[in-house]
Symmetry: C2
Subunit: 449 residues, 2 copies
């Protein structure tokens, strides 16, 4: 059914273009027309959504996350990356992989569903999810109607041996996964496959080269963690004589479009490489704060013309999937870090969370324009915590909350209306997902020193 969003008081097309009192016509999964649409120009059977005193904006795009960690929120708040992997992440993965027969698709489905319910309430219409390879994850997105990039996580070293498949088996699994899920996307579906070599230190250069070849063969995106810690840089210097991103450039792996998460310790030379080669960097401020990784030099990246997107990272190091909060924390952190309040304005971080996120996800969305995918959200800012509205983008960035999000539209379909998800039984699925998570968690001791 076609949809008309009628008489929108404030239409944020992108961070720099705001219109007032307009209509938006949605046909199939795309934005057909923006303007003042006469009743006689409406298709028959058109659903009408009233936009008076509301704000319409592009859906938020979470450009880097690990949805399985929704099961692991609140476990530890005192560990740096490596011990945190050892004490929080690996024990969970171990159980999930060992119990594969029992959980397999089911558990992936539930953590993906739990996370998607959270994200939709927070106005997130698309995520790039580097996840455990257990199946079921994209199925949840199809059921709830969320757009997702399922980034197949690849590692053949550093992680515990029992998680590393033989290279040939791993390669076969990857190809199978691509064939199973990329089909949905080519069919204008919600799900797209990326390949995600976890880090340079988790993948041998030979495997990295094979992965890049596969992204060429199937025209896939690629996401990787880069320079999340100082240790990672030291390790790459020891093994390769250069820091990670520079090494990837050197061996010509940047010939494909890639997005790189974290990038806290990029050298100036690497920031130049990112600008020149169109590498999209993904800023994950809250996670970087919690693990005390460090503070990415975002101001410098922007000055050099790098495209920066924004992500929550996984909820075990955040512990939320909330891009409103991520926007404001990302902005505030840069202001205090640089001792310059003008750094990373609301508009700049808004662009990262929408337009640049769409670039990272390689989707035709992130702004509200004719011909773009109809992935958008309708906000009511007339709430005690977010009004009076002085400058709409500042109010959204510094005050926006789940309770402002009334309507969520993804791929031209209304997924949430009046704060209620329409596509699935959200209460029942939340309850069941929590129960499934609790059963695994009982088996892990998170108190080890």
């Amino acid at each position: 059914m076609d949809i008309l969003i009628k008489n929108i008081s404030t239409l944020i097309q992108d961070a720099d273009h705001i219109l007032n009192d307009k209509d938006i016509l949605i046909e199939d999964n795309k934005i057909k027309k923006i303007g003042n649409i006469l009743p006689e120009d409406l298709p028959s059977h058109c659903k009408i959504i009233e936009g008076d005193r509301k704000v319409v904006m592009p859906g938020l795009i979470n450009a880097h996350t690990h949805l399985y960690q929704s099961m692991l929120r609140g476990c530890r708040d005192d560990l740096t990356l490596t011990p945190w992997c050892e004490k929080v992440i690996f024990p969970f993965i171990d159980i999930v992989y060992k119990d594969c027969k029992k959980y397999n698709a089911a558990i992936g489905y539930y953590w993906s569903m739990l996370s998607s319910i959270e994200m939709i309430h927070n106005g997130i219409t698309c995520c790039i999810d580097m996840d455990l390879n257990v199946g079921g994850i994209p199925k949840a997105w199809q059921d709830i109607g969320m757009r997702g990039i399922t980034a197949f996580t690849i590692a053949n070293r550093w992680v515990p041996k029992e998680f590393c498949h033989d290279n040939n088996i791993l390669k076969e699994e990857i190809e199978q996964y691509i064939k199973e899920w990329q089909q949905d996307y080519s069919d204008e579906g919600l799900v797209q496959v990326f390949l995600a070599p976890s880090t340079l230190f988790c993948c041998t250069p030979e495997l990295m080269e094979w992965v890049v070849e596969k992204t060429e063969e199937y025209n896939l995106g690629l996401q990787i963690h880069i320079s999340e810690t100082k240790w990672e840089n030291q390790d790459a210097l020891k093994e390769f004589g250069t820091t990670p991103l520079e090494f990837l450039e050197k061996i010509n792996l940047l010939r494909r479009p890639i997005s790189a998460a974290h990038c806290i310790y990029l050298t100036d030379k690497e920031i130049d490489i990112a600008a020149r080669r169109g590498v999209i960097l993904v800023y994950n401020p809250k996670s970087n704060m919690k693990l005390s990784d460090g503070i990415a030099p975002i101001a410098k990246m922007l000055k050099k013309g790098v495209t920066v997107a924004l992500g929550t990272d996984g909820p075990a190091s955040n512990d939320q999937l909330d891009m409103f909060e991520e926007m404001r924390m990302g902005s505030l952190l840069q202001k205090v870090f640089s001792e310059e309040p003008g750094v990373l304005s609301a508009s700049e971080i808004f662009k990262m969370a929408t337009e640049n996120g769409a670039k990272a996800a390689r989707i035709n969305a992130g702004t509200i324009e004719e011909g773009k995918l109809a992935d958008l959200i309708i906000l009511n800012l007339n709430k005690a915590h977010s009004a009076p509205v002085n400058k709409v983008i500042q109010n959204i960035v510094y005050c926006g909350k789940n309770t402002n999000v009334e309507t969520v539209m993804i791929n031209g379909k209304v997924i949430m209306e009046d704060g209620k998800i329409l596509t699935v039984d959200e209460e029942g699925l939340t309850r069941e997902s929590i129960k499934q998570g609790e059963e695994i968690l009982k088996r892990i001791d998170f108190n080890k020193p």
Copy 2:
């Protein structure tokens, strides 16, 4: 009417004491009994609140704010403290004071109401509000049933001349205000008066001395901004030869219980003074980030045994009144700043936002114990964004949101139930407050370079 909270799955008495499956009996405005209460021991006419699968915790206490700034959220995000005062704060104050006849009590009532609606939804049961002295503010708290400390803001220099009354008139106004409102508190009411010399550079030492004498005469609390910027320290060094807190100690103004907001640039000697003299410091992380003031050395303060509370500061530099978010940002900021993830744990910041806040506010609350004021909140953490619950205080600190807060009880009265405020028409008052704010804002140009 007496109230029984029955069969609470998780009862957080304080950061270190968590009980399971207990009942709480509330009589008048206090917690009468915690335990397993038999039906025959219940008073007649007892309201029963079901606690199964819920978490009860002390209400959050916002230990430093300026509620009038709820009208000014989202105005600027590119200014340090002094130009921000000149371009955002002073133009607003100027209109409010000039139009006193027109707005007077009304406008103060509305910004206080708007803020209180926001705070109650965020589980805040008490705030210390350094506000404009226009009247109407505590009346809003009485109407909605919120506990508040109305800290009369005092300045006789640095601020624009037209805001400075003649010292004698000012002193008369202060005494009048004390007499009008402190009466409510002595009567076990919701409202308590503090005196709040804005800063040392805003008040002559003579006025400071007079203020401290008045707090002795009427037994009032005192709150002041201390060392929010480097400039403030330099200014005090120039005028007095010492930094601000050390100067207050030197002239014996710390003889009374005081709380000091910000304290970013305290010297080691001043941290020792705070510990020795029982000065309560109030940490305001988000505001300090937005104005790029700097990062308070909280870890060092805690190590030296200082009592630290937590505040949002005003919503023009935050831009929210959300203590869940303030807790997690306060914690995460310290972790990344100190490069040590164990710094400022969830339990420590939880204590700041509850128990230590009560000390700053000088109220018999902040923990759930028999004999304490019944200021508490009931959370449902079984939501997609906050479950599974691994460690309850970590889940509250890192995932807590307004949508977790179901019930708010203040002074033994249920103020909010199932997320709806019972005491006032919140929708109508929100609408009217926003309208009142918009009318003033129209008259200010927030785009000045």
